[in-house]
């Protein structure tokens, strides 16, 4: 194998967190290497080291046999290393062309540059609107602008960080086509992903990372998927898939249980007259998991906000355990035992600049268990946080760290642990598995099942249909702000749910 890129012994720590630990890698030109790993395995950190965003604490990087030091992203560009970030790095207020040309030397920006950008678009069959600011583009197009930016800089190494996670299903195939072309031109492509089928389709070899280490670099064609996922999850015996109990059979019949939540005739109309929710009726029994499925933006988020008090419904009533809470404040609803895992854990679920233990406590400050003599009891907070960190296996396990130092999956565990603890009657979860890998998803689902077993009603709102079907006792489908149907996941078809999800407003009436 012709050796093009060589990484030896690279390590990187953030405070006490070892994000990368003795990473070694050999790669050649014209190769696509998938990087597979759970959230927080060090995939993105490794990429950030390669493009000069992070400086490694130890180790070497060699390009064509020559040691290089990538001290800045500008230096990375010099060496022909580029990266497409999961959350793009584009200037929203500027056009595609401006975004591509930023930072280039003057001689590369002349009128010839415009022609070359369009030529690249043709070569890769990219459609890009050059007249609108990037902020107004759909994600697929933004991603194409990012790729053009890298291509225009003549990258010989391109790192793609979970490139398909933001794309609509129909955009994935053309994107993979473009990547294949790039590899064919001799580019070394790293494809960070946790979607095994995509890795199968696009990659030559797969590098599996776990806890900041490389667990193995294997040829994709001859490695069974089960072995990949086993290495990723750290299971020693590759043949034994993770045991998954069929929990639905173990579940109690909850139809006779008390009603945990009754939403009747709730409508929400914005000040501009748009009807976000229309006459929504829902009943949730104690101990039941009621899934809410639907295409994103059909009122699911608003439903969760109306129930938890973030938004006030225009009409209708909400009963929690038989008690009306339609007009109650958020604090009063929390006191009634509602737990809420919001959709955006960064913006709504956590304060990233506070420590893990403070994040556990801040919704409950003032409760007696956290106070001593009128002051916040650090010891009590620390104790509760430590227990939760242990119970939920939150890593790193130091509750004094800032929440921002944790990976997405571990951050979600903090939110979940905190909200489960306060959900005495009702737990509302929105997109709880968004952006989580297989292991973390499984963990979150198991915790939610356990909460329901203990007699709490769970409203499980998600756009990931298979997760909803897997966990729910009943599934309510929303479209255009209405409940278009409530089905039993055991005896319904995907086709039926698909029809309910896309039911036009006329059909609903």
């Amino acid at each position: 194998m012709e050796e093009f890129l060589k990484v030896t012994g690279v390590g990187k720590a953030f405070g006490s967190v070892r994000a990368l630990n003795d990473v070694n890698l050999l790669a050649s030109k014209g190769e696509c290497i998938a990087i597979l790993g759970e959230n927080g395995a060090g995939k993105t950190t490794l990429a950030s080291v390669l493009i000069g965003l992070y400086q490694p604490d130890s180790g070497q990087i060699l390009l064509d046999g020559v040691q290089i030091s990538v001290t800045s992203p500008a230096a990375a560009i010099e060496y022909g290393i580029g990266m497409i970030h999961q959350h793009f790095s584009l200037v929203g207020a500027m056009t595609a062309e401006d975004n591509i040309l930023i930072g280039l030397p003057r001689e590369k920006r002349g009128p010839a540059a415009r022609a070359r950008i369009r030529q690249l678009c043709d070569d890769f069959d990219f459609t890009v609107d050059f007249n609108v600011p990037v902020a107004n583009m759909a994600v697929g197009m933004k991603q194409r602008v990012e790729i053009l930016k890298a291509l225009f800089r003549d990258v010989s190494i391109l790192i793609l960080d979970e490139p398909t996670s933001v794309l609509a299903p129909t955009e994935v195939a053309p994107f993979l086509q473009g990547v294949r072309k790039l590899v064919a031109t001799g580019c070394l492509v790293f494809f960070i992903s946790h979607k095994l089928d995509e890795i199968r389709e696009i990659a030559d070899r797969v590098m599996i990372m776990r806890h900041g280490r490389v667990e193995g670099i294997l040829p994709v064609a001859s490695t069974p998927m089960a072995q990949m996922s086993a290495l990723m999850m750290g299971q020693v015996d590759a043949d034994q898939p993770a045991e998954k109990p069929n929990t639905n059979e173990m579940r109690l019949d909850t139809t006779r249980a008390a009603k945990a939540l009754v939403v009747s005739d709730v409508s929400l109309t914005t000040s501009s007259g748009a009807e976000i929710l229309k006459e929504v009726d829902l009943t949730l029994h104690a101990g039941e998991i009621l899934g809410v499925a639907g295409i994103d933006g059909n009122g699911q988020t608003e439903l969760s906000e109306v129930i938890t008090g973030l938004k006030r419904q225009t009409s209708g009533t909400i009963l929690l355990g038989g008690k009306e809470i339609s007009g109650s404040s958020i604090a009063a609803r929390i006191a009634e035992g509602i737990g809420f895992v919001p959709e955006d854990r960064h913006a709504e679920g956590l304060v990233l600049s506070l420590s893990v233990e403070e994040n556990f406590a801040f919704r409950s400050i003032g409760e007696r268990k956290f106070m001593s003599g009128g002051m916040i009891s650090r010891r009590a907070i620390g104790k509760i946080a430590e227990d939760a960190v242990k119970a939920y296996d939150i890593r790193p396990s130091n509750p004094k760290l800032n929440a921002s130092a944790l990976s997405g999956g571990n951050q979600q565990k903090i939110v979940l642990a905190r909200e489960v603890a306060r959900a005495r009657n009702l737990l509302v979860v929105v997109q709880p598995t968004k952006g989580l890998d297989v292991g973390a998803t499984q963990f979150v689902q198991d915790q939610i099942r356990a909460v329901a077993q203990s007699g709490v009603g769970v409203l499980y709102i998600s756009t990931e249909l298979d997760h909803v079907l897997e966990i729910s006792d009943r599934v309510a489908v929303m479209a255009f702000g209405r409940i278009t149907g409530v089905v039993n996941p055991q005896n319904t078809t995907l086709q039926n749910i698909g029809l309910l999800m896309t039911a036009s407003p006329e059909e609903v009436i």
Binding site: A74, F88, S89, G92, N99, R109
Partner: protein, 310 residues
């Protein structure tokens, strides 16, 4: 014809009173476009004024005075940049600290330099330049085309700044830094170098405002002579929508209000003059309320950039 004379007077006053605000506002626009607040404009005006007065006092040359003022502004800009970029100090706090520091320092130094006269020393300044032919236009001629050289410099710099910021490739990079420093960094833009450049230029432009006060208006340095112009300039930045030309126009509008209130003071001596003094501030508040709501600042202004931030 009395009204036309009055109008001419007000216009001439607009140019004279608006020039220092415009210089400072230009400086603010360039800093904010690079993602840095320059709240220190007020103090930097004083630094420029003292530098100009001292330079001119020592050498007898207004031009050397101008140079000294600009150097003082550059240095104060670099200092503010060091606080904002390297130390990542909250930019509002850093700017306010700089204002307090420079207000005290210039007062102290002026006594050291000018001695017993305590800033009362008269220095050489610029005289008005009459542009042939144009200055003969009625009303507009005497007011706009027989101004001091710094007014013409302002117009030149404003056009230059607009071209540099909006049309040149360095300007594109600078604006990208102000919008999204990480994206700019990843595209190979030397983020910190550009920010230092911008904040230094910003200080130099604010200093030109101070130099104008000393060398073209009153020919002496006085403690606290900036008198809030640096803060009005901050409003002019918003009103001018972060465009160099827009900011200069907004600054001249404030100059106009100021000139008008002077005229009103003289024409209505029975009204307490304090009422008229309020006028420019009321106008700026009203203008901000009407126009400011729609304005959009550079997306990352005021947020320090840390490459390794997670």
């Amino acid at each position: 014809m009395v009204d036309l004379v009055l109008l001419g007077d007000v216009l001439a006053g607009t140019a004279r009173l608006g020039t220092p605000i415009a210089f400072a506002a230009l400086g603010g626009v360039i800093a904010e476009r690079s993602g840095l607040y320059n709240i220190g404009l007020e103090g930097q005006i004083l630094a420029g004024a003292l530098g100009a007065a001292a330079g001119s006092f020592a050498t007898g040359s207004a031009l050397i005075g101008l140079g000294c003022g600009v150097i003082c502004g550059l240095l104060s800009g670099l200092f503010l940049g060091y606080m904002s970029i390297r130390l990542r100090i909250n930019q509002l706090v850093g700017g306010i600290a700089l204002n307090l520091l420079l207000a005290g320092l210039t007062a102290f130094l002026s006594r050291q330099i000018f001695g017993a006269q305590a800033g009362g020393a008269r220095v050489e300044g610029f005289t008005q330049i009459r542009i042939p032919l144009l200055s003969d236009i009625p009303v507009l001629g005497p007011s706009l085309f027989s101004q001091d050289p710094l007014f013409y410099l302002l117009i030149g710099i404003a056009v230059l700044a607009w071209y540099w910021l909006m049309k040149s490739h360095k300007g594109l990079d600078l604006r990208a830094v102000g919008e999204n420093p990480k994206a700019a960094d990843l595209a190979g833009v030397p983020v910190f170098r550009l920010q230092y450049l911008a904040i230094s230029i910003s200080g130099a432009l604010a200093a030109l405002a101070g130099a104008h006060l000393v060398l073209s208006q009153v020919y002496v340095f006085a403690e606290g002579m900036s008198a809030g112009k640096g803060f009005i300039a901050l409003a002019a930045i918003i009103l001018g929508r972060w465009s160099p030309i827009g900011a200069v126009c907004a600054a001249l509008f404030f100059g106009f209000c100021d000139a008008a209130q002077f005229k009103l003071q003289f024409s209505s001596p029975e009204v307490p003059y304090q009422l008229f003094l309020i006028l420019p501030y009321i106008a700026s508040l009203i203008a901000l309320v009407i126009l400011g709501a729609k304005a959009s600042a550079p997306a990352s202004v005021g947020l320090p950039y840390d490459r390794e931030h997670r």
